[in-house]
């Protein structure tokens, strides 16, 4: 990660040049994509089924309708989900409870796809703080700030975290990149810091009076692996993997996407 940052700085130094180009790509046969989540908050579990398209197809991917989608947990609950709009399947009885494992089954096109995911007991996001940014990316004479998320990782390896941010800019703010949606996968694993107090630095720079909302998700190792391998093929990772490939999914049966049991917390901070 740091190295990529280094390399991009070096490339910038050597006056590299980037442009959007046209490329002829093959057309792969359409494949099922599952995007499924169960959370520990009062949000109904949802499963979204779509298909792959040609890479440069500009429209929304086609929905997969009429599938039989079943969700269950290790406490003996089981429910067939309802397709409320094309491709979106909702559960109405089951809701996420920390400490349980959830099972998903999708039957469509004569095939069955299955997955399971462990929902972490809630891990509190203790606080958000900010500090002056002293990193070299913070160019220009203006004062910039970065936000730190403080939490305690429970003992036992295999916890993954994801931080999703949204910035509400102050009237005086000038950084146009902060107005765009956050496409980055800000991930953390306890692989090297198991059971410690974590001060996670969120790599977005804020200006005075900007407000940032932070959603901290925590999840099991399989979901972390999915997000991590997904992050390697998305979002301008220039010096990334020499051979990009599809993310490591926890879905068995040959579908793309993932089934995530997600525990999450939200906090907001304003730079004063």
């Amino acid at each position: 990660m740091r190295y990529k940052f280094l390399l991009s700085a070096l490339l910038a130094f050597f006056a590299s040049c980037q442009k959007v180009i046209q490329v002829d790509l093959n057309s792969a046969a359409p494949t099922l994509v599952v995007e499924a989540a169960v959370t520990d908050q009062s949000i109904r579990p949802v499963v979204k089924l779509t298909q792959t398209t040609d890479y440069f197809n500009p429209s929304l991917p086609p929905a997969v309708t009429g599938a039989i989608v079943t969700i269950s947990d290790d406490a003996g609950n089981k429910e067939i989900m309802t397709e409320e709009k094309p491709g979106f399947y909702y559960a109405n009885k089951i809701n996420g409870v920390g400490g349980r494992t959830y099972f998903l089954s999708v039957q469509t096109g004569g095939k069955e796809y299955t997955a399971h995911s462990f929902l972490n007991p809630p891990i509190p996001l203790d606080s958000l703080t900010y500090q002056k940014d002293d990193s070299p990316q913070s160019a220009g004479g203006k004062k910039r700030y970065v936000v730190l998320a403080h939490f305690h990782d429970p003992v036992g390896k295999g916890n993954g975290y994801r931080f999703q941010t949204q910035i509400t800019q102050a009237a005086s703010s000038t950084d146009t990149s902060n107005a765009k949606p956050d496409l980055s996968y800000r991930l953390f694993t306890d692989r090297l810091q198991d059971g410690e107090n974590i001060n996670y630095q969120i790599r977005r720079t804020l200006e005075l009076n900007d407000q940032m909302q932070v959603v901290m998700y925590s999840f099991d190792q399989n979901v972390y692996d999915y997000y991590f391998t997904l992050s390697q093929i998305t979002g301008g990772q220039q010096a990334a993997s020499a051979a990009p490939s599809n993310p490591n999914t926890n879905i068995k049966g040959g579908a793309l996407g993932y089934f995530g049991a997600l525990s999450f917390q939200i906090k907001t901070i304003t730079i004063r």
Partner: protein, 775 residues
């Protein structure tokens, strides 16, 4: 193959001509030097006048030995670019002969007196070898005007660059870590500076470069694909001289001279880049606090005790330093030291003993509010090497042993959080690598020469600590604890080597070679560019040694009295136990890094054409390679073979140097090659309402073809016997072609459900100027 080979080998040895002494024979032996500076001359021809089939070449230390029936002979000693010398010898007893050759004047008006037999490429048994003299390098234009060995060898057929401006290279489809890079016999684990834009070899300190692409002789081993054998200058033992250059982004200085004239000399050569001084000019505090430079130092001394004993001490030290303010810093580099003792037992029996130390390490410092981190990693070798050469009539025996103790420090992290220091270390590993070899180079008939050899290598992984064995899916199957110094795992194997040369006439030869090579340590890297933090690992319970078999046949022809040399070579190579990575593999600081690896096989084949003009106002070469390189892993691409990243169908290099006048010379290089095999998406889907690429095959697409023209002018402002002042002007990428470095795919930043392809190119046209001096 293996079991029958030693017997055949023994038989050859018995039948070889040395066994039958028909007539009394005597030996003439000696040393060949450069008259001007006393540098020992490698590969000079020592031939009997009027009997060109009788002869030898000087070895790496300038020593030669030629055994002939008693009689009177005129011996011609010659080397390309030097005036040849005839010496009369009466062989009624063993004689010694020393020769000091004078450089042929490079002035184009004079007739250049050349060695009579400049056809070493025809008569020698070596195949697939490219030899470069550093003098040849100085006129070739390169990036930033910094002449560079690794950039220049990438212009040879069969050698492919690892990327724009990158010092990494692939030889005949082999991996970057399958090249044995030696600097005065010491292994250089990371040959690049500035993340690959420069090589660590300062050409002012280098005497000769040999690249062995196939038919690796038995004295070399440890890597599958090639040997890049780089020899440093010994130092002028006649006069004190200083040479150097001032360039736009780097400068260098070399000082050399006698310690005791004719007996001992030294050379010290240093180089530093100052790219970061330009950063300091920036008003932006985010840029001017950054550091970015490298420096390196080569030093060598030698001492001639007497005719029979000579000692050499040489070393290299280089560091790269990169820093972003105080928040982040990394430095890395190699250190090597070689102590050598040449001993002549008698005029037929030469030995060299080397004690070698080398290490490569990096340090990373991160300091941010609340946390300070220091990461350290290293690989360190202690090496003892004994090589013997025994010269008989028309036959040379070589044998030796090599013992290397490897010390791997995969990573140590010290963290200071809330004033508490916590250290985490990955398990250190130790390896003991040993090899013995024997080879016999002899004439089977007047036209047919052979070099048969056998190498036996053995590698032991040593404890202590907990060693894991993993399943095929990467989960832990078993673990065991080994005490310090206990053997965890040992691998060994025979490596037969064979080279045959059928000399049709003085200008034509057909050569064949076969070599099996084995490799016990590997570089793990899953990014598109080499990185200073790439990890070297040894064989283990999980990682098996790699083995390659290469067959090579070539036709060699010299034209117009050896002014032109031409060759066509066909090679076929298979590789087993090749390494690839699981999806999303974490290679840095992972105790279970071996669980991230998958194993497969590879093959590579191709044909290489090469024509070189060696003399005259216009000289240079044209190389063309047509080749294919595949890899196969059960876990990748559905188990089907796929083109390796370095697979390159066409590769063309043209190098031309033209002397316009006494003062000006012009040079140009042109390269064209098929783009890298790359993986592009063949579909799209949405996750979190962002477009994601759908990948269906590995390396199924190609980057656009790469082509580039570089030009250079050298202006000799002043040249006398002692002093020289030249200016080099060079233009990299003269017609400013934006070659694709990468093509990446991403969601459209303005509409994340849509997608776009982005091409990144690195260098446009880059002019540079360097002033070189000598006094």
């Amino acid at each position: 193959m293996i079991s029958s080979l030693p017997r055949a080998f023994f038989l050859f040895f018995l039948l070889s001509p040395a066994v039958f002494f028909a007539q009394e024979r005597f030996t003439v032996s000696g040393i060949v030097k450069d008259a001007r500076n006393g540098e020992l001359m490698i590969g000079a021809s020592i031939l009997v006048k009027d009997q060109p089939s009788l002869g030898t070449v000087s070895n790496d230390y300038g020593f030669f030995s030629l055994t002939l029936p008693s009689g009177r002979y005129v011996i011609t000693i010659s080397s390309l670019g030097y005036q040849s010398q005839d010496q009369s010898v009466v062989l009624d007893k063993n004689r010694t002969l020393s020769a000091a050759l004078t450089e042929a004047s490079t002035s184009i008006q004079e007739v250049v007196v050349q060695g009579e037999k400049a056809n070493r490429n025809i008569v020698g048994t070596e195949t697939s070898v490219n030899r470069l003299e550093v003098k040849d390098l100085k006129n070739i234009p390169v990036l930033f005007g910094e002449k560079d060995i690794l950039k220049t060898i990438q212009l040879l057929p069969g050698v492919k660059s690892a990327g724009e401006g990158n010092a990494g290279f692939y030889v005949r489809g082999g991996g970057i870590d399958q090249n044995l890079i030696l600097l005065d016999e010491a292994t250089v684990y990371n040959a690049s500076h500035l993340l690959g834009f420069f090589s660590v070899f300062n050409s002012d300190a280098i005497k000769e470069v040999n690249l062995i692409k196939g038919g690796m002789p038995a004295q070399y081993g440890g890597r599958l694909s090639s040997v890049l054998d780089i020899k440093m200058n010994d130092g002028n033992n006649q006069n004190y001289t200083a040479t150097g250059g001032l360039g736009l982004i780097s400068s260098r200085l070399t000082v050399e001279g006698p310690i005791e004239k004719d007996k001992s000399s030294f050379v010290v050569s240093g180089r530093r880049t100052y790219a970061d001084l330009f950063l300091k000019l920036s008003k932006d505090s985010a840029i001017n606090k950054n550091t970015l430079y490298f420096y390196d130092l080569n030093a060598k001394a030698n001492y001639t005790l007497n005719d029979k004993n000579r000692f050499y001490l040489s070393g290299y030290f280089g560091r790269d330093v990169l820093g972003f303010g105080t928040a982040f810093g990394i430095d890395w580099g190699n250190t090597t030291a070689t102590l050598r003792w040449n001993h002549v037992f008698n005029n037929q029996f030469f030995s060299n003993t080397s004690l070698i130390y080398n290490d490569y390490k990096y340090n990373i410092n991160i300091s941010q509010t609340g946390i300070a981190l220091n990461i350290h990693s290293a690989i360190r070798d202690y090496n003892l090497k004994e090589d013997m050469e025994y010269y008989l009539h028309n036959q040379t025996l070589r044998f030796g042993v090599n013992s290397v103790y490897h010390n791997f420090v995969p990573g140590t992290v010290s963290r200071v959080t809330d004033s508490i220091t916590k250290d985490t270390s990955l398990l250190r590993k130790y390896g003991w690598e040993n090899a013995v070899y024997f080879s016999d180079e002899f004439s089977i008939s007047k036209r047919l020469k052979a070099n048969i050899g056998l190498r036996y290598s053995i590698f032991s992984l040593l404890g202590g600590g907990e060693f894991y064995t993993y399943n095929k899916d990467g989960s832990v199957l078993d673990s065991a604890f080994y005490g310090a110094g206990n053997i965890v795992k040992t691998y060994s194997g025979f490596e037969p080597r064979l080279a045959l040369n059928y000399v049709i006439d003085a200008a034509d030869a057909v050569k064949f070679s076969y070599a099996r090579t084995r490799q016990y340590i590997f570089l793990l890297s899953n990014t598109t560019s080499t990185s200073p933090t790439d990890l070297w690992v040894p064989v283990s319970n999980n990682i098996k040694p790699q083995q390659a078999d290469q067959y090579d046949i070539g036709y060699y022809k010299n034209l117009k009295d050896n002014i032109y040399e031409a060759s066509v070579e066909i090679y076929y190579k298979t590789l087993d136990n090749q390494i690839d990575y699981r999806n999303g593999a974490q290679l840095r600081f992972n105790q279970n890094v071996e669980s991230e690896l998958i194993y497969g096989s590879g093959k590579s084949y191709g044909v290489e054409f090469f024509v070189k003009k060696r003399k005259g106002r216009l000289n240079g070469w044209v190389g063309y390679t047509l080749s294919r390189t595949e890899r196969q892993f059960d876990e990748v691409n559905g188990g089907k073979p796929f083109p390796a990243r370095q697979d390159e169908t066409h590769d063309l290099s043209i190098v031309g140097i033209y002397d316009l006048s006494k003062k000006w010379n012009f040079s140009a290089t042109f390269v064209y090659n098929t783009g890298n095999a790359v993986t592009f998406p063949s579909g799209r889907y949405l996750i979190d309402n962002h477009a994601v690429g759908y990948y269906t095959e590995r390396n199924g697409y190609r980057l656009p073809p790469y082509h580039r023209l570089d030009i250079g002018f050298n202006y000799t402002a002043m040249k006398t016997a002692k002093r020289e002042s030249t200016w080099n002007f060079s233009v990299y990428n003269a017609y400013n072609h934006k070659n694709a470095y990468t093509i990446t795919f991403r969601p459209n930043p303005d509409n994340p459900i849509q997608t776009q392809a982005v091409e990144t190119s690195l260098f446009g046209i880059i002019p540079s100027v360097t002033w070189n001096f000598k006094f």
